[in-house]
């Protein structure tokens, strides 16, 4: 009982901060999602599904796909940093992968818009070096552009966490497996990844949630239909002053993020018990 109390006391300051300065103001918005002219009802949600069910699916697919790609790339980068045997290559990679992390999302949107376009810097560089025929250049400014922007920006974030966690693993097992002749890929998949699974999950869920709430990337790369829910929320507010539907969409987005988080929480719960 006393450890429970101590635990609660330790959590309390942080929790109070979030409750007081975010969840309290938020509750007005969530209640607003259920407010209709005649009192309370689900009209805002009906409208949200009526207009934007396609966008909900689109958002989910984009964010899930990006999360998977981020996870794979982050494991690959972390794995090479941990298991790579050429110090020079490891040093190059270490200095290379982190840069996108420092670029704010709104600038990521702008940079990708001018980089991935049909006549953007990427295609013109590739054409100039003779790798593609300029006539065949295509624009990537659709769902692919959003995924690329997300993966570009978020991979370093997860990779930094994963690499840090991998670095603190006990080298003994890895060396032993190595001496037994196991390939590095096998060591990565069978020994390293399982031990840092929790960190990978935490990184991925934080990325998932971040991507769900980013407005500038979809707005600057592809705000057409289908688009992401954040763009719809902004549109509902700025074009119609319609906070009801915007809040309903926000609540739906929150539910999606919470569902992703629950997967992780159940996993850790099972581990703890």
């Amino acid at each position: 009982m006393t450890t429970r109390l101590t635990g609660l006391l330790l959590v309390l300051p942080a929790l109070a901060m979030v409750l007081l300065f975010f969840i309290l103001p938020l509750s007005a918005s969530v209640i607003g999602a259920f407010e209709v002219e005649t009192g309370f009802g689900l009209a805002n949600f009906v409208k949200a599904f009526d207009f934007y069910s396609q966008d909900m699916l689109f958002t989910l697919v984009i964010v899930c796909l990006s999360t998977v790609l981020i996870g794979l790339l982050a494991i690959a980068i972390g794995g090479y940093l941990t298991l790579g045997e050429n110090p020079r290559a490891v040093a190059i990679l270490r200095n290379l992968y982190r840069w996108p992390m420092f670029i704010p999302f709104i600038v990521v949107g702008q940079v990708m818009r001018t980089f991935l376009a049909k006549n953007g810097l990427m295609n013109s560089t590739l054409a100039a070096s003779g790798l593609i025929d300029p006539a065949q250049a295509v624009s990537l400014l659709d769902w692919r552009g959003i995924v690329i922007a997300f993966v570009w920006k978020q991979t370093p974030f997860v990779a930094l966490l994963v690499a840090g966690s991998m670095a603190s693993l006990d080298r003994g097992t890895i060396e032993a497996a190595r001496n037994l002749g196991a390939s590095r890929l096998r060591i990565l998949v069978e020994i390293v990844v399982p031990q840092v699974a929790r960190t990978i999950m935490v990184g991925l869920i934080l990325s998932f949630v971040t991507m769900m709430s980013v407005l500038s990337v979809p707005l600057m790369i592809n705000a057409q239909s289908p688009t992401m829910l954040t763009a719809d929320i902004a549109f509902r507010i700025n074009a119609y002053g319609d906070y009801g539907t915007a809040n309903a969409l926000g609540t739906i987005s929150l539910v999606m993020s919470a569902a992703a988080a629950l997967i992780y929480l159940r996993m850790t719960l099972r581990e703890r018990s």
């Binding site: 207009f51 396609q54 818009r113 001018t114 376009a117 049909k118 006549n119 953007g120 624009s139 400014l141 707005l219 600057m220 790369i221 592809n222 705000a223 057409q224 239909s225 688009t227 763009a231 719809d232 902004a234 549109f235 507010i237 700025n238 074009a239 119609y240 002053g241």
Partner: protein, 378 residues
């Protein structure tokens, strides 16, 4: 830790409410609007009113920027703040109505000397709401089609011609739908004016009738069809961006943005504008003063300066090639004919008079957007 927090509190306290007469101006719109107020208007005002200072905060481009000013006002209104933390705001036409209806604004136009220099209807009515006296127009903005003369030698002069042109040149016309900014919205409104079965004048002037909203089905179906030959661009800036990279040859843009992109070297100087028949919408940016401004008198002085013929001529017309907010004849008198004519290089005053339209009144505006969401983008 404690020291740091104390320092934070101290800085915070020092930074809160100003002691000297400091005028705070919030402005929606692009960076050039912030720069205009900060680099041109503010120094002028400070020179004429020694001891006072002006500070400017940009709230972001487009409707989102104005919406943030409305939200800031709501937050202070509902919190019953004694005095508000801004004295003057520049907002888009669409957001003046809600601010007036909520009772947040000062009715100041008759009290300033430049108030009678404005006779245009859009200074009295804003998308169907009576705002007479509450606003002074900073400038009038207009949408038009921007095109690349190297690719389009004979630009379409009307929506009809544009439809045919797009059919012959698939993928060379681009617009930004309705979610990426008002230049696309404006294109859609112009489309309804041109091809809707109802009376366009009723959409612009009211009154709102439910029956009218049923008359757009044909126009929206043809717009959907037209859009298959068009490219959808990411936002107001996205259209200019694709124009500048040669990915599209023609597209709807805000005239003021077009000129600032040219001035920033982001768009070739030879690009041109055309205002197609039967017209595309434009809108004024308005100066408003909240009733709870710290110093309403000083705020009025500021707006008076900003809407004086000299400033309108030098700042709005000469610097930016924007259409003045106050009546043209007062501004023209202040300018060399050459500078004045530069304003009408591509779009003549006659074009502007004939084809420069207002947006539909608010309820029609929303109804058209929702109809578009339902039928075109699905």
């Amino acid at each position: 830790m404690k020291i740091v927090l104390k320092a934070a509190l101290a800085t915070g306290l020092l930074a809160s409410p100003a002691t000297a007469a400091e005028l705070t101006v919030l402005t929606a719109g692009d960076q050039n609007m912030v720069d205009y107020v900060n680099e041109y208007l503010a120094p002028l005002f400070e020179e004429q009113n020694p001891g006072n200072t002006v500070r400017v905060v940009g709230t972001g481009p487009g409707d989102a920027g104005s919406q943030k000013i409305v939200e800031r006002s709501e937050a202070q209104g509902k919190a019953n703040a004694e005095t508000w933390d801004y004295d003057v705001a520049v907002v888009h036409e669409k957001f003046v109505g809600p601010l007036v209806k909520a009772g947040y604004l000062e009715q100041y136009r008759d009290r300033i000397s430049t108030g009678k220099l404005v006779t245009r209807a859009n200074a009295d009515m804003a998308l169907g709401t009576d705002v007479k006296g509450y606003v002074m127009p900073m400038f009038n903005s207009q949408t038009a089609l921007a095109y690349n003369p190297a690719l389009v030698s004979n630009p379409p002069k009307s929506y009809e011609e544009l439809v045919n042109w797009a059919k012959e040149n698939p993928g060379k016309f681009g617009y930004n739908g309705i979610k990426g900014g008002a230049s696309g919205v404006s294109f859609v409104m112009g489309w309804i004016y041109a091809f809707g079965e109802g009376d366009a004048n009723k959409l612009m002037n009211g009154p709102f009738e439910e029956a009218e909203t049923k008359k757009w089905d044909g126009a929206l179906a043809s717009l959907k069809d037209f859009t298959t030959n068009a490219q959808l661009t990411p936002g107001n800036a996205g259209t200019l961006d694709m124009l500048s990279r040669g990915e599209i040859a023609i597209g709807p843009v805000w005239v003021d943005m077009f000129y600032s992109w040219q001035a920033n070297g982001q768009l070739p100087p030879e690009f041109k504008l055309v205002l197609p028949e039967p017209g595309m919408p434009g809108q004024p940016m308005h100066y408003v003063i909240p009733s709870k401004a710290t110093d309403v008198k000083l705020a009025e002085k500021f707006v008076e300066l900003a809407t004086s013929p000299k400033v309108q001529a030098e700042g709005i017309v000469e610097r930016f090639s924007w259409y003045p907010g106050i009546d043209a004849q007062h501004v023209q008198a202040e300018l060399e004919p050459a500078s004045w004519n530069k304003l009408f290089t591509d779009v003549t005053p006659e074009d502007l008079a004939k084809n420069g339209k207002p947006f539909p009144i608010a309820p029609y505006n929303s109804a058209i957007l929702e109809a578009y969401e339902r039928s075109v983008s699905n």
